[in-house]
């Protein structure tokens, strides 16, 4: 019934790379409550589209409930003065990411429809050490890598060691490194 812990290939090596501090434990602060409430209420207005008193009142009550349940989930211990700049830089990062995703998509489309696909693809597993520190930036990197066709993040260890699967060597050669530099700029690390 109980499968004992299997050592995965990634965990086998306790190799180099600066160990990070512990996850910032989920903390509740007044700033995070207020910010969460404002964000949620904006989304509510978008969803609802009705601005009479009853629905606005229901919206206030719902946002309050969700804020109480999960303010520490959305913004654990926010560093409030830094946030607007971070969001602005993140929004600037998105068009670049979309462009890269589009280019990579066309590459994978070419592979998929090519009659001799089996000769063109050469799947392999690559890895590299990321110098990103915080959880958020690492997750952004991992999801960006996964979103770009041709590369999938398999594992990201607590040291920031990233393992990813590539469909052909071309896809994985340069892109993750460029991405890492960009994300480091966004998160100022």
């Amino acid at each position: 019934m109980v499968e004992q812990a299997k050592v995965s290939p990634q965990n086998r090596s306790f190799h180099q790379g600066a160990p990070t501090g512990p996850d910032a434990r989920l903390q509740k602060s007044p700033a995070s409550y207020i910010l969460t409430f404002v964000i949620l209420f904006g989304i509510w207005l978008l969803l609802s589209g009705r601005f009479d008193l009853l629905h606005l009142g229901l919206g206030l009550a719902s946002c309050l409930l969700v804020t109480i349940f999960s303010a520490d989930l959305l913004l654990p211990a926010p560093n409030t003065p830094r946030l607007p700049g971070l969001w602005f830089r993140f929004i600037k990062y998105i068009p670049w990411l979309l462009y890269q995703v589009l280019v990579a998509n066309i590459h994978v489309m070419y592979l998929v429809f090519h009659p001799r696909m089996m000769d063109l693809i050469d799947p392999s597993i690559m890895e590299f050490d990321s110098r990103l520190k915080s959880d958020m930036s690492r997750v952004t990197l991992a999801n960006s890598i996964t979103l770009t066709p041709g590369t999938i993040t398999v594992h990201i260890s607590i040291y920031g060691h990233i393992t990813f699967h590539v469909i052909d060597i071309e896809s994985g050669k340069t892109l993750p490194w460029i991405m890492e530099a960009r994300i480091a700029d966004v998160f100022e690390e």
Binding site: S62, L65, L73, L74, D135, M136, V139, I158
Partner: protein, 277 residues
């Protein structure tokens, strides 16, 4: 065993198919439902309850009894899961050793019964079935759970105008809590919404529904005839029916949400509430 299941499913299907022969034809304009019931709902629902979504009006107002007992069925399903599966006390096959992971180094400690438990925030208690330190899933779900919950509440609140209502919104809310339990672990989910809380909410949902009906009785109207609540809300009878539907939907949503979460807790941890999926 598969053959027995297949045979019984086929048998059931055959019986049901034979039963349908007695039904009126599909879309038959002379059948009782199509000649009396549906036209009345379609023509009068908007004027009588001011709910543009006829399905909601039928579900929560015209056929309120039906929905009341559907909610009761959901509640009793959760109760049945609890009585059948819940086991109190420690698991004798796996004595109460505890596993802790030191986050900065990734080293796992095993603490035997009676040992000293580390209480520094650098340690994280992990499941014995070995949960990977999957920072991607954890962080992403952390970010989207509030929005899923907001959407669930939106679906409950806008049952009058858009598809949705208590059942759908309750399912989305319950799914958000289950998502939290899947992405973190069962213990943290229990800390956020405990077993007692889910049980009380589940009963409270049914109570809100039945209580709204009983309140109508007290105000001198029929059971679940929300127009009797007009003096309480301070509006006319039609608006009162609309608000009554909303109150009932909230009750249904509460019951469905906590029933889902409660059933999940019992099923995922095999009744012990120690380690889950």
């Amino acid at each position: 065993m598969k053959l027995v299941a297949l045979a019984s499913a086929l048998l059931c299907g055959t019986i049901l198919l034979f039963g349908t022969a007695e039904f009126p034809d599909f879309g038959d304009p002379d059948s009782p439902a199509a000649s009396h019931v549906s036209p009345r709902y379609i023509e009068e629902a908007m004027a009588e309850t001011s709910a543009p979504n006829i399905v909601t009006a039928v579900l929560a107002d015209y056929r309120g009894f039906d929905t009341l007992f559907e909610t009761a069925v959901v509640f009793s399903a959760a109760m049945a899961c609890f009585f059948l599966l819940r086991i109190f006390g420690e698991d004798e096959r796996r004595p109460s050793e505890k596993l802790y992971r030191h986050l900065p180094t990734g080293i796992t400690l095993r603490i035997d019964p009676g040992g000293k438990v580390p209480d520094s925030p650098e340690f994280e208690r992990i499941d014995g079935i070995w949960i990977p330190h999957d920072v991607i899933v954890k962080t992403t779900t952390r970010l989207i759970i509030p929005f899923i919950q907001l959407f669930g509440l939106y679906v409950i609140a806008h049952g009058h105008h858009s598809p949705g209502g208590g059942f759908q919104g309750g399912v989305i809310l319950g799914a958000s809590v289950i998502l939290y339990a899947i992405s973190q672990n069962l213990r943290q989910a229990l800390g956020r919404m405990g077993e007692a809380v889910s049980a009380v909410f589940c009963a409270a949902g049914v109570f809100i529904y039945a209580g709204a009906g009983a309140l109508c009785l007290l105000m001198g109207a029929n059971f679940l005839d929300y127009s009797g609540l007009a003096p309480l809300f301070g509006v006319d009878a039609i608006q009162a029916r609309s608000l009554g539907i909303l109150v009932v939907e909230i009750g249904v949503g509460l019951a469905v949400m906590s029933a889902m979460v409660w059933i999940y807790y019992n099923l995922a941890s095999m009744g012990r509430h120690q380690e889950g999926l």
